[in-house]
């Protein structure tokens, strides 16, 4: 069978094969990922707009300035920022076919992401204790929805990172590892840039 030959051959080339046989020479998967990210811009754009419209509408209830803890959020922003760095390192390690480092950095990134999500859950609980529930006001609904959606994106990213780390551990990635890692990386960085925007628009700019 041809497949067998190919498979053996490819041991020597961990670089992406599929990509090279397309019309443009670009990988299908990367194209798809970039399209998805372009699409997701409109999703987050919509949620951010809703928040911008409603950030000042909380009647007599709690407003942004009553609940936000800039120091706390800054720390989690740093966590996410560093996770972006570790993600890049995972990608370059995978590019060098350095399985051990790839796994290390993937795990680190996943843990940092999990820390971020944990911090967010902690933050939300705090807000809730202060009296800011999901249904309290227009401000609260749009805040929780926006940051919640971001949190869900991070969570999905963490699941992908951890799965990837486990799979590389068992040496079981169909196709080429490098590209998979790169794809997850793109997703992860996107989640990071969304946070860059949220951090500024939601937390830093005074309402």
């Amino acid at each position: 069978m041809a497949d067998v030959a190919v498979a053996h051959d490819s041991e020597h080339h961990t670089d992406d094969h599929g990509a090279h046989h397309t019309y443009t020479g670009l990988s299908n998967n990367k194209l798809a990922m970039w399209l998805f990210l372009g699409s997701d811009c409109l999703l987050f754009g919509g949620l951010i707009s809703v928040y911008m419209l409603y950030r000042g509408r909380y009647q007599e209830g709690l407003g942004p300035n009553d609940v936000y803890d800039i120091v706390f959020t800054s720390v989690s922003s740093f966590v996410l920022l560093i996770s972006s760095l570790t993600m890049v390192l995972a990608v370059t390690a995978a590019g060098r076919n350095d399985v051990r480092r790839t796994r290390l950095w993937l795990t680190t990134t996943g843990l940092l992401g999990a820390t971020f999500v944990g911090a967010q859950v902690f933050e939300f609980t705090g807000f809730y204790r202060k009296g800011l529930g999901f249904t309290t006001s227009l401000f609260s609904s749009s805040f929780f929805t926006l940051t919640g959606f971001h949190g869900v994106h991070v969570t999905i990213g963490v699941i992908m990172l951890m799965s990837l780390a486990v799979i590389t551990m068992r040496g079981r990635i169909p196709g080429n590892r490098a590209e998979v890692v790169e794809l997850v990386g793109l997703y992860w960085h996107f989640v990071d840039i969304v946070w860059i925007v949220i951090f500024t628009l939601v937390y830093l700019i005074p309402s």
Binding site: A2, W34, L35, L37, F44, S84, V88, H189, I196
Partner: protein, 110 residues
């Protein structure tokens, strides 16, 4: 079997593909840069500079955003097509949502 032929083909592609892959240290520098900007942002939010502060915050946000996209996400080194797809989405999002928000402000209250 045509495998051999194929391989020579892919190899040549790979070489063409070998465009600048920055070293790890480069990414560390970028991350440091981003960290500094973030620090600046946080500082800015404490000094109350009014609308100037807001503009600066916007500027910093854009710089951070673009840096991550260009370097961490490789758009700088990758095929232009990826960039087209992403920037189109981002551009559309900006246009329509800013325009929509603007109609809420322009709404004449008389």
């Amino acid at each position: 079997m045509t495998t051999a032929v194929e391989h020579s083909e892919s190899v040549s592609h790979e070489q063409a593909d070998e465009h600048a892959h920055p070293k790890d240290s480069f990414y560390v520098k970028i991350a440091l840069f981003l960290a500094i900007l973030t620090g600046l942002e946080i500082a800015l939010s404490y000094v109350h500079w009014g609308s100037l502060g807001t503009y600066l915050l916007f500027a910093l946000m854009i710089v951070k955003f673009v840096s991550v996209v260009m370097f961490f996400m490789h758009l700088r080194f990758d095929s232009k097509i990826f960039g087209y797809l992403f920037w189109t989405g981002l551009g559309l999002a900006l246009t329509v949502y800013v325009a929509a928000l603007a109609t809420f402000q322009m709404f004449s209250k008389n």
